[in-house]
Symmetry: C2
Subunit: 170 residues, 2 copies
């Protein structure tokens, strides 16, 4: 089920499907490419907002991942829910946003644990991931014989996991 | 706690620490770089064996991730255990191994769900990830005020998550 999404209706369907898939998984592993060419990931809390094709994360301006994103914007977000056998891979391009209004809009008090200075902290930076592709493996949705059966059968279309595609936004 | 590991005793300690961290997390998200430059991940079952610096996974020779690894061997493995607030990032180089003896050694009957032809399947291929660096975030081990406090404080050494390093093996 490889869906090329060319109209906004289809795009909206993909957005809603992904929104539902990641709704209860708050932490994503964000993978970036470091200067030495290695791939590194770290857990990140997804900022609470209605998903419309972009995912948002808080960080500090001087964080190593910020400079990694500046050099190489291609990132992966992996959402894992082992309890429910659900795994989601999101391919996207990250950009850094330091817009004060957006920071205030996405800020929640829960974030104070990691950013004790609150949303007025001048080093606060948002990482915005523009989703270009998403894939998921869900034992419950796909009613497979074994969990993750499709995992190792990516070359067999009929067993392939679902892939959601976004049209390029102009 | 950035440990440069130059002798085999220190290396062994890092290996044991990582072995313990991932013991109960069977599924890793393996991130590779695809031909178009995007980063993709997919859930993979870690083959059961005593971890000694390499992690092993079964796949099929014609799987897209195999050709991705051929072109670019830098990979990331993310192990997530949201229940216990534990997240591990492993940076490594992947290589493809089609050694029949190794396949038989690592084969377990559980794998039949995904490889119904069993370990005699001629397309069976092993992905061996040689670990060069590992980082973890563990709310219980680090006794942080808030869970994952260190997550966003990578630039503050005293709050930094633990990083395990392997000496280069000749």
């Amino acid at each position: 089920m490889d869906q090329k999404v060319s109209d906004s209706g289809e795009r909206q369907k993909s957005i809603e499907a992904l929104r539902e898939l990641i709704r209860d998984i708050h932490i994503a592993m964000l993978t970036t490419r470091s200067e030495d060419g290695g791939l590194r990931s770290r857990p990140m809390i997804t900022a609470q907002h209605e998903f419309e094709g972009q995912l948002w994360f808080f960080t500090h301006a001087d964080d190593p991942k910020v400079s990694e994103i500046v050099k190489q914007s291609a990132v992966n977000l992996a959402y894992a829910d082992p309890e429910r056998d659900r795994y989601i891979s999101i391919t996207g391009q990250a950009e850094l946003v330091r817009d004060k209004q957006k920071i205030e809009l996405l800020w929640t008090e829960e974030l104070k644990q990691w950013f004790p200075q609150g949303c007025a902290d001048p080093s606060l930076t948002l990482i915005c991931v523009n989703v270009s592709e998403a894939e998921y493996w869900d034992a419950n949705r796909n009613q497979l014989r074994g969990i993750f059966r499709e995992l190792f059968f990516e070359t067999e279309p009929e067993l392939k996991h679902d892939r959601l595609k976004w049209a390029e936004t102009a």
